[in-house]
């Protein structure tokens, strides 16, 4: 790498390095495995639905109420006799979909405002940064809950509510990356050759900040899943009788002593998926610690 383009990495090298560092780290590899499983299962269930679920996730069966875990019912049944394992599987696509939706929207907002902030001069930079400060002043879960409550419960509104609290991190990240790239010589060269700011951002800045943002965004999916679980715990996600990881825990917690499997298993699944993302993220972050803005 020549010294004048120091800091600018070829995209293929970038991903190659990430893959290499994950392969070396057994915990990161475990994380990758969990994440891949989560998305594969979500896609399979979304496409094939009822064909692969062991039981109907919604149909009540009063002949098998609160059955403990067994080979017939892997995670037991709830008080309506519904198979908890099937309900957990059936809810996976919602979580996958919401997390991807929130992250994509936040990344887009982040890239637009972040590059603007990094490129359009001090006044705009100051305004955008103070705007993010305002959002950072709330515990994100309470802001998301307040917005979701006001909009009314439902998957779509929950996704909007989380996005409303999620974008500021991406603005900060995109801004920091923009400032870093902006100081490199090839951008100076583009300026000298009379490209407009708009063209520079479009042709030089965005393509160069994308790898970092995409990497960060991928690992950030776990955080959204965790927050969404919090919203659905309070009944702000998909509405009953549709299954939802968080609301399953909430419904089951009154049966904690009689039927611990009902709240615990859905909770463990949320935990495992979230830990998977965290392990993977930690591995990747090790390799690129300098390029990440901590949350």
């Amino acid at each position: 790498m020549s010294s004048k383009n120091k800091g600018k990495i070829k995209i293929s090298t970038f991903y190659l390095r990430i893959v290499r560092s994950i392969l070396k780290d057994p915990l990161a590899l475990l994380g990758l495995l969990i994440v891949v499983c989560f998305f594969s299962i979500s896609i399979l269930v979304a496409l094939l639905g009822d064909y692969i679920l062991p039981y109907d996730p919604i149909k009540m069966d009063f002949s098998s109420i609160l059955v403990p875990p067994s080979l017939n019912h892997l995670f037991g049944t709830d008080r309506y006799g519904r198979d908890i394992f099937s309900r957990i599987l059936a809810a996976a696509p919602t979580d996958a979909f919401v997390s991807v939706e929130v992250i994509i929207l936040s990344a887009i907002i982040g890239i637009v405002l972040g590059t603007l902030s990094g490129f359009a001069g001090r006044a705009i930079d100051e305004i955008v940064m103070r705007l993010t400060d305002i959002f950072f002043s709330f515990p994100s879960i309470i802001l998301a809950i307040a917005i979701a409550a006001v909009l009314g419960p439902g998957v779509r509104n929950a996704a909007i509510a989380i996005t409303a609290t999620w974008w500021p991190t991406y603005v900060r990240l995109a801004r920091a990356e923009t400032l870093r790239i902006k100081s490199l010589e090839f951008v100076e060269a583009a300026k000298v050759s009379n490209l407009s700011s708009y063209q520079i951002v479009l042709k030089h800045i965005i393509p160069n900040i994308l790898p970092t943002i995409i990497t960060y965004a991928t690992l950030d999916l776990g955080g959204v899943i965790l927050t969404y679980a919090g919203l659905s715990y309070f009944g702000l996600g998909a509405q009953p009788p549709l299954p939802e990881w968080g609301s399953e825990v909430f419904a089951g917690q009154d049966y904690l002593v009689v039927a611990p499997w009902w709240p615990i298993f859905p909770g463990l699944v949320i935990a495992i998926v979230s830990i998977g993302f965290a392990l993977l993220g930690d591995g990747v972050r090790d390799a690129f610690s300098k390029q990440f803005v901590s949350k």
Binding site: L27, R130, L131, I145, V257, G267, I270, A271
Partner: protein, 337 residues
């Protein structure tokens, strides 16, 4: 920049952010919400009463005037009225807030006791087994949803092993001390009721420990990195070369300087605790802000939800301001930059 200019600048910024926060809560509660009058006044007032209340709450005026009255109200102690109980929101908050204060303070203490030693352990054994174990533990603890940590601990330590009480603030046979501050532990001490103090503490340990368990990583991570930084400083090396006692170097030179940045973390930590209180107070049946908010949530009680939202943001802004000022006083280089 002198420290005074720095403080004034930060104060100005905080006020700006606070106004921004009021704008945001106003937009959420008066613009985004469908039918704001119904949300603020309640589901079924008769038409005459509705008209009177609309006028009283300024719903018949243009939005910018509504915003004006809203901000004036927030800063003069009128945060609206609970449409279900007809009690002013601030009066209700005063009833529920003490529990959350107790919870937050205890959780802070526990997460400091857990977080700082683990951070130091991690930094001094960098790259070795201890370091990896600590990093893995806080990685897991921050990824597991807090309500699951709470339910598992409740089941294990509360119901199965019966080490801790499973709900509430006091045992049935312990009388609540007269309300002075609202904080049971403080009131118990003020009235010399040691029994109630211990009983309340005993009830609060498991919820506080749960909160601390899912947030000590914030402290650990910070202490670890700032400790590593200090250990590699020139003055640490100089002290070593001078042949100073190892323990003395560690406690006098390293630890003190490494702990300074932790003052900045308390706002973030408080944000975690306040957010976590929503879940914890529900699971452990504690009558605090979290429980107040979630009950309001289930009833579509918008003034109450927005009251908590604003209060939490206000607390965090104030904490951030105090943290920055403290940091600048402890480490004057910060203000100079």
């Amino acid at each position: 920049m002198s420290v005074t200019t720095f403080v004034l600048r930060r104060l100005f910024m905080s006020i700006f952010v606070l106004l921004g926060v009021t704008t945001l809560t106003f937009i959420i509660s008066r613009v985004v919400v469908p039918n704001p009058a119904r949300a603020w006044i309640g589901p079924k007032p008769n038409p005459d009463l509705l008209k009177a209340l609309m006028k009283k709450y300024h719903f018949d005026e243009p939005l910018y005037m509504q915003y004006f009255y809203y901000v004036i109200g927030l800063f003069t102690g009128d945060w609206g009225v609970d449409p279900y109980s007809s009690i002013p929101i601030l009066t209700e908050i005063r009833m529920y807030f003490p529990v959350t204060i107790e919870l937050t303070i205890l959780s802070s203490l526990i997460s400091i006791l857990l977080g700082i030693p683990l951070g130091i352990l991690s930094a001094t054994h960098r790259g070795k087994t201890w370091d990896n174990a600590v990093r893995l533990s806080y990685l897991i603890s921050t990824s597991v949803p807090i309500f699951i940590v709470a339910l598992v601990l409740l089941l294990l330590l509360g119901y199965w092993l019966k080490i801790f009480p499973v709900s509430g603030q006091l045992s049935l046979n312990v009388a609540r001390p007269p309300t002075i501050t609202g904080l049971i532990m403080v009131d118990a001490l003020l009235t010399g009721n040691l029994n109630a103090f211990i009983d309340n503490l005993y009830h609060m340990i498991l919820p506080s420990f749960t909160l601390a368990l899912s947030s000590f990583g914030i402290i650990t991570r910070l202490v670890r990195s700032s400790m590593i930084e200090v250990l590699e400083m020139e003055y640490t090396k100089t002290a070593k070369v001078k042949g100073l006692n190892k323990n003395k170097i560690f406690y006098k030179h390293c630890l003190r300087n490494a702990l300074i940045p932790t003052v900045t973390i308390f706002a973030l930590l408080t944000a975690y605790f306040l957010g976590g209180s929503l879940f914890i107070e529900n699971i452990f049946s504690l009558p605090g802000m979290g429980r107040y908010t979630t009950q309001a949530l289930l009833m579509f009680n918008i003034p109450a939800v927005m009251g908590t939202t604003f209060l939490f943001a206000l607390i965090i802004i104030v904490m951030n301001f105090i943290a920055d000022v403290l940091y600048a006083l402890l480490d004057p280089r910060i203000a100079l930059e």
